[in-house]
Symmetry: C2
Subunit: 131 residues, 2 copies
């Protein structure tokens, strides 16, 4: 007899679905841009290249660890470039690639939707909480 079929089949479905979701480009992108610091970094760099410490200052509250981690993953995905200028002390600049700029424009669309509809959402929320 087949044992624990229910649980196993559920687990099976979960694994398959997880794989599907991870392979879905849309969800990959959502995972990326939803990172707390990504949108802030992209937004900051949209104005032009910037040094590591300038970014850290502009995005107040980010820890060095998270800033580096965020920059590395964005660099890996080809969204920005990292330029090291050997000097004393070392100078490192970050700059959006065309792909990164393109992503910034998408973020613009998200921003537009947010600003256009945030009122409705807040109203709905207040109404829901009141009842």
């Amino acid at each position: 007899m087949a044992t624990t079929t229910a649980a196993q089949r559920r687990e099976q479905a979960r694994v398959e679905y997880d794989a599907f979701v991870r392979n879905c480009p849309t969800n990959q992108l959502l995972d990326r841009i939803s990172d707390k610091w990504v949108s802030l970094v992209v937004c900051a760099l949209a104005e032009g290249r910037m040094r590591y410490s300038d970014l850290g200052r502009k995005i107040a509250g980010v820890s060095p660890k998270m800033l580096t981690q965020t920059l590395r993953s964005l660099e890996r995905d080809g969204l920005l470039t990292r330029t090291v200028t050997p000097a004393v002390p070392v100078r490192v600049d970050y700059e959006l690639t065309p792909l990164g700029t393109s992503l910034f424009h998408l973020l613009g669309a998200v921003k537009d939707w947010a600003e256009a509809h945030i009122e409705q959402v807040n109203e709905a929320r207040d109404q829901y909480d009141a009842s």
Copy 2:
């Protein structure tokens, strides 16, 4: 003398910036749509109203807890409606509101960007990993 000024001022900045980020509509929206299950639920409901268990089946791998949690928060934000039909057994339907449908369209834009650029991202990633 002022003690731990550096740490305290950093903490202060962090708190202020956190508040700013949370109040930013764009980040609120990003937080919302980046939730692992939100996009899946919105996408599923885009085809029309659906029952709780149908959603659970369509979105294989979601636990009842997370499904309920997701649906509640979306309802709270006015993105979908919850309709209870008293019968035996009870029947509960979920359906996108116009606002929810509008959000679905935004997700479409995200999807378009993702599908158009995922190749570039993957290439950049492979190249980065190779070096």
